[in-house]
């Protein structure tokens, strides 16, 4: 990714692009993946996030993202109070999440209808983020592109079937990664695309033999 507006930008609420703007984006991504307003959130902060989150407003930023605010929204200043008014319960805990980027958070959500989600991601500087896993499964992506994540059993033909569906719908793949636990085991395809991924497309991918789960994320 070589977008000049990641360098001269983003337009954001201070004070820190990595500890505030990037943290808002991690919250926004978690809310979008949950697919509904969160009712409760447990947030574990690692490294520099754990040590300096109060000073940088990282807590206000992640909660603002969970409330659906963008990184340039002036309401970020008051997000903890707004969360209380809207009935979003939250806890922050410092944690050692392992050998990860110093600005990393594990966000665990329960939605208003009981859906749950966990997201492990890092804020890597300049407001950009790197997602590591979703619900405990590898999901290596940045959310700068529209992203389709397909979990499946490691069998021949799944990748061809999935990319075939994208090809027929004229969705261009910018980046693609494949991970598997072991031969014939659990596998995941992460596709970052230039065009939007529709619910309809996801439904078709869910119908592919040996696919066990599909998640999509609009670029944020």
């Amino acid at each position: 990714m070589t977008d000049i507006f990641d360098i001269i930008g983003p337009v954001m609420i201070g004070p820190s692009s990595s500890h505030t703007a990037g943290a808002v984006r991690l919250g926004m991504i978690a809310r979008r993946l949950l697919g509904e307003p969160p009712a409760s959130a447990v947030i574990r902060l690692h490294g520099s996030f754990a040590r300096t989150y109060k000073g940088h407003g990282t807590d206000k930023a992640i909660i603002a993202g969970l409330l659906g605010f963008a990184p340039d929204d002036l309401r970020i200043r008051n997000s903890l109070q707004i969360a209380q008014e809207e009935g979003l319960k939250y806890e922050f805990h410092p944690a050692d999440l392992g050998d990860l980027h110093p600005n990393t958070a594990l966000i665990e959500l329960a939605g208003v209808s009981g859906k749950t989600l966990s997201l492990l991601g890092s804020s890597v500087g300049g407001g950009r983020v790197q997602i590591h896993s979703i619900n405990g499964f590898p999901a290596d992506c940045t959310a700068e592109y529209h992203t389709l994540i397909v979990y499946h059993r490691d069998t021949p033909g799944v990748i061809a079937a999935v990319t075939g569906i994208l090809a027929r719908r004229s969705v261009n793949i910018a980046q693609m990664k494949v991970h598997r636990s072991h031969r014939g085991g659990r596998s995941v395809i992460i596709l970052e695309t230039d065009e939007e991924i529709t619910e309809d497309l996801c439904e078709e991918v869910r119908g592919v033999a040996n696919v066990t789960g599909v998640t999509f994320l609009h670029a944020v």
């Binding site: 201070g14 692009s17 990595s18 703007a21 040590r51 000073g55 407003g57 206000k60």
Partner: protein, 292 residues
């Protein structure tokens, strides 16, 4: 095609097209993003407008930040300039005031343009808006200057880092000053080679600068380092425009910055555990702030 893997590549592309780095970057970005140059130009114009608003908000402000650690200093500097009390003269005084103004707005959770980061957000607006005003340079040159700065910043982010947590303050205020220095050179008609020397000189001046925010807040020493950063950019631009060359090419300086950043202890990289953050006064302030 530009890969943003070196400053030398940007210089060569500008020289062979007989233009400046800013124009080369604008056209490359339009091609890469599949958008028109007009569209990108307007988006950059909007960013310049947010920069201008953050300068004005910060210069008006006399209140302290929520922590009480900062606020109102940009206004003091502006008064000193208006009363002709600054030793460095009007241009430098205004640049310092503007850099601190934007950094103060950032510290109080106001709206700014990260350039390249929020911690270093005062340097580029202060440099560009001050040179533009004082030298009557049309806005178009300043907008192209933001493309110059952005191209330099992309190279630094690919070959080193722009994150204080990874590279210390040299990676944030150092990168911002290097970007601003190159932009000033092109705004006033310097060559692409001079822009590269200005970038190298500015970054060399702050190699090893640690990120040591008191109580973890982007206030002390960050706001004053934005003032020092714009001064650094002006120094580097003036040297380069006078024909002074960096003995070490910009790309090697960027590599040195990356290497210094990785050698630096994590206590000195935005964790508020070393440097100024570890002083007795800083620890006392941190205890007071966390209890309130």
């Amino acid at each position: 095609m530009i890969s943003y893997r070196s400053i030398q590549e940007l210089v060569q592309a500008a020289v062979s097209a007989n233009t400046d780095i800013g124009t080369v970057v604008l056209h490359q970005q339009a091609a890469e993003q599949g958008r028109s140059t007009d569209e990108l130009y307007r988006q950059m114009q909007e960013n310049l407008q947010v920069m201008r608003e953050s300068v004005e908000a910060g210069l008006r402000n006399r209140r302290r930040s929520p922590s009480g650690l900062s606020g109102g200093d940009a206004h003091k500097l502006l008064e000193a300039v208006q009363q002709d009390r600054t030793i460095g003269g009007s241009l430098l005084g205004k640049a310092l005031a503007r850099a601190m103004a934007v950094a103060e707005v950032n510290a109080s959770m106001g709206r700014i343009v990260a350039a390249p980061t929020a911690g270093s957000c005062g340097i580029l607006p202060a440099a560009l808006l001050t040179v533009m005003d004082e030298r009557n340079i049309p806005e178009e040159r300043a907008i192209l200057g933001l493309f110059t700065a952005g191209g330099v910043g992309l190279v630094i982010s690919k070959q080193a880092t722009i994150s204080g947590a990874q590279g210390g303050c040299q990676a944030e205020c150092g990168s911002a000053a290097a970007m601003a220095a190159a932009a000033i050179v092109e705004m006033v008609g310097g060559t692409p080679q001079q822009a590269a020397h200005a970038c190298a000189i500015a970054l060399k001046n702050v190699l090893g600068l640690v990120c040591d925010p008191v109580a973890g807040l982007v206030e002390v020493p960050c706001i004053k380092r934005n003032a020092a950063g714009v001064a650094n950019a002006l120094v580097a631009a003036d040297l380069a425009l006078a024909g002074v060359e960096s003995a070490i090419p910009a790309d090697e300086v960027i590599e040195a910055m990356r290497s210094v950043g990785s050698l630096m202890s994590s206590a000195l990289k935005e964790t508020a555990e070393g440097g100024l953050a570890a002083t007795a006064t800083a620890r006392r302030l941190a205890r007071q702030l966390l209890n309130c």
